[in-house]
């Protein structure tokens, strides 16, 4: 992995896998983000939390290249980059799993994993646009296996008949096919039952072990504490606080989200990184 993980250079500035500096975005008179910094490192799970309207989605859309921000600089491994389209983000190795998962219920797991990126058979099959079904199926099984997704035994079953947790697993697995470095997960545990949530959290742990930078947006603090290394709190379009998950209580995070203790000027004072 990148040596940057724990390296603090001579200047004392860490180089992150992905970092954003001073991101601002306004929708008319509404300042959705103002001067937000954000960073995620390889092999790290960062939870992005905040109340509705705090700017979480806007920030993620900016990283995914879906919605451009007005100001701000993106650094990839310390190198300034420009993300002005979803293709840019994909090329840099940023994959996003949206809350609606974007799965085709009428197709099986294999077809969904390779949706839009189907493999062709070799030889004469390529000439006839023949799909390489066995190849795709084999690789799908390998992928599921490498992610330790044990709940999906049959990759030929229609996605429509899978449970919420399994569907989330398929969507996350699909995002990994492009071999990304950073994965953004939008509310991956929303509307899931207890055991299903457990499966998804385990999967997020697997992503971290693979050395990916993972960004999780969640409203569920219990899940955030279960899976995240760092918690970044957004409030009213600003970065209100950053916590290391080991040294913080739920009450502190809730307070930062609601602004109960900190007020507007407490940004840096309480940062524990």
């Amino acid at each position: 992995m990148t040596p940057a993980t724990e390296s603090i250079g001579a200047t004392g500035v860490r180089t992150y896998l992905l970092s954003l500096k001073g991101v601002s975005k306004a929708f008319g008179a509404n300042q959705a983000l103002s001067g937000v910094d954000f960073e995620v490192d390889a092999g790290e799970v960062v939870a992005l939390v905040g109340d509705n309207g705090a700017g979480k989605s806007t920030l993620v859309k900016a990283i995914a290249g879906v919605q451009l921000c007005d100001e701000g600089t993106f650094y990839f491994n310390g190198v300034p980059m420009k993300i002005s389209s979803p293709q840019d983000a994909t090329r840099l190795g940023i994959a996003t799993v949206y809350q609606d998962l974007a799965l085709c219920d009428n197709l099986d797991v294999v077809a969904n994993l390779y949706l839009g990126h189907e493999l062709f058979a070799n030889g004469i099959g390529r000439f006839g646009f023949f799909l390489d079904e066995t190849g795709m199926e084999r690789r799908s099984l390998e992928l599921m296996d490498s992610l330790a997704v044990t709940t999906i035994k049959d990759v030929r079953v229609n996605v429509g008949s899978l449970s919420g947790g399994q569907r989330q697993a398929v969507a996350i697995a699909r995002s990994l096919l492009g071999d990304p470095k950073v994965v953004l997960l939008d509310e991956p545990t929303a509307a899931l039952g207890v055991s299903q949530t457990e499966q998804v959290l385990t999967l997020i742990g697997t992503l971290r072990k693979r050395g990916l930078g993972v960004v999780v947006i969640s409203h569920n603090l219990e899940n955030v504490f279960a899976v995240a290394d760092r918690i970044i709190v957004l409030r009213l379009g600003r970065r209100a606080a950053t916590f290391d998950v080991r040294g913080v209580s739920r009450e502190d995070v809730v307070a930062a989200i609601t602004g109960a203790e900190f007020g507007l000027h407490a940004d840096t004072a309480k940062e524990s990184v």
Binding site: L103, L115, H117, F129
Partner: protein
């Protein structure tokens, strides 16, 4: 369950197959089987009413009658898979057949060129429909309904004062009046069965070579034997009458090509994706507008092909070509045979099965010389019943999903 374990492997294999079929039937997944049961029931009923129904002559006529509808239905299936509809296939078939006939009869164009011109006209009609749907986001039923009216007008216009153009004996009429001698029929059957067996075995061997799960050998044997039996029975029946009709081969060739395209190619996969979740397909990088445009073109081209076959059988094109209940039959067939009206679910083979069901009912009622009033009512009733069954199984699928 100890008793079950003692049964010999072969018997258990068969038992598993039937249990599996029962489960699939209940879950609404065994569409083709359900339709075959429906055909069996219809045939039994009409046979008891009129013993001429299942005679080789009548069954051959049934196939000849339905060839045009089945061809059009193949195109309709493609459009239904996207979750769209084309209400202009009837009128398009009539107009394209008229284009062909006018070119041949009035302008002395070579038959082959005239046929190609008719197919190209179909493609252009589809291009227009697809363009309106993708560019201006007009619901396809509105575009194609308007298109249908226009095409009827164009048909009347190019037929001119006479209103009817007769096709003399030539290339086009030969399409539906050519029958192969018995030996050729059997040869076709042998080749077809050999190909099916070879494909099934090759598929198995690739899968096992790649280290993937293969289905039970018994299940494969059951399917292959069932299809082989159907082919042998068909050729036998045809040979008892005038022989294997060329048009049946044409329709099966169309079905094979489009079954291949929809089930085995990337374009086919994209069709299912667009029909299942267009937004997901778009985010996956699929050019959904291109898929829609091309499918509308294919649909109308198949309508043109159906129109040509209809004109060939009628040996004429007239003012009612492509009219009457042709549109209803072409769309109802695949829906009866399990292709969803909501997109993403269905098969090209449902076009053939559906045409068989509707054709059997129409043909049987003709034999009983029932009034048209009764025929319309019965056909409509069957359609409603089929769509209701589809809807119920769909709801069941959803309820299992929520659990």
């Amino acid at each position: 369950m100890s008793a079950q374990q003692e049964t010999p492997a072969s018997v258990r294999g068969m038992g598993d197959i039937f249990r599996g079929l029962g489960r699939k039937l209940a879950a609404g997944e065994a569409g083709p089987l359900l339709v075959l049961l429906m055909v069996g029931a219809i045939w039994t009923f009409f046979q008891t009413q009129n013993p001429r129904f299942l005679s080789p002559g009548n069954l051959t006529n049934l196939m000849l009658q339905q060839a045009a509808v089945a061809t059009m239905s193949i195109g309709v299936v493609l459009i239904l898979l996207l979750g769209e509809i084309d209400l202009s296939v009837g009128a398009a078939s009539g107009f394209c057949a008229a284009v062909m006939t006018v070119l041949m009869v009035l302008h002395g164009v070579q038959p082959v060129l005239a046929v190609l011109a008719a197919l190209a006209t179909g493609a252009l009609i589809g291009l227009f429909n697809g363009f309106m749907v993708t560019r201006f986001k007009i619901p396809s039923f509105v575009v194609t309904l308007a298109g249908s009216l226009t095409l009827v007008g164009l048909l009347l216009y190019i037929l001119g004062d006479t209103g009817t153009l007769n096709l003399s004996n030539n290339f086009v009429t030969a399409l539906t009046s050519t029958f192969f001698p018995p030996l050729v029929g059997w040869a076709v059957a042998v080749v077809a069965i050999a190909l099916i067996l070879a494909t099934a075995l090759a598929g198995r061997s690739t899968r096992s070579k790649a280290g993937l799960k293969v289905g039970s050998l018994g299940g494969m044997a059951f399917t292959v034997i069932a299809i082989a039996a159907a082919i042998i029975a068909m050729v036998f029946v045809f040979n008892e009458d005038r022989g294997l009709p060329l048009v049946v081969c044409i329709v099966f060739a169309f079905a094979l090509v489009f079954a291949y395209v929809t089930e085995r190619t990337r374009f086919g996969r994209h069709m299912f994706a667009v029909g299942g979740n267009a937004e997901a397909a778009r985010r996956g990088g699929i050019k959904i507008e291109h898929v829609r445009l091309l499918v509308f073109m294919l649909g109308s081209t198949m309508a043109a092909a159906g129109g040509i076959l209809a004109a060939s059988r009628l040996m004429a094109v007239n003012q009612s070509s492509g009219g009457s209940d042709l549109l209803l039959m072409a769309i109802a067939g695949p829906v009866i045979a399990g292709t969803s009206l909501f997109g993403g679910r269905g098969s090209v083979w449902s076009a053939l099965l559906g045409a068989l069901v509707i054709g059997s009912i129409a043909n049987g009622m003709d034999l009983l010389s029932l009034a048209s009033s009764v025929k319309y009512i019965v056909t409509g009733g069957v359609l409603i019943a089929a769509v209701t069954i589809e809807s119920i199984t769909r709801m069941r699928r959803h309820s299992t999903l929520i659990e």
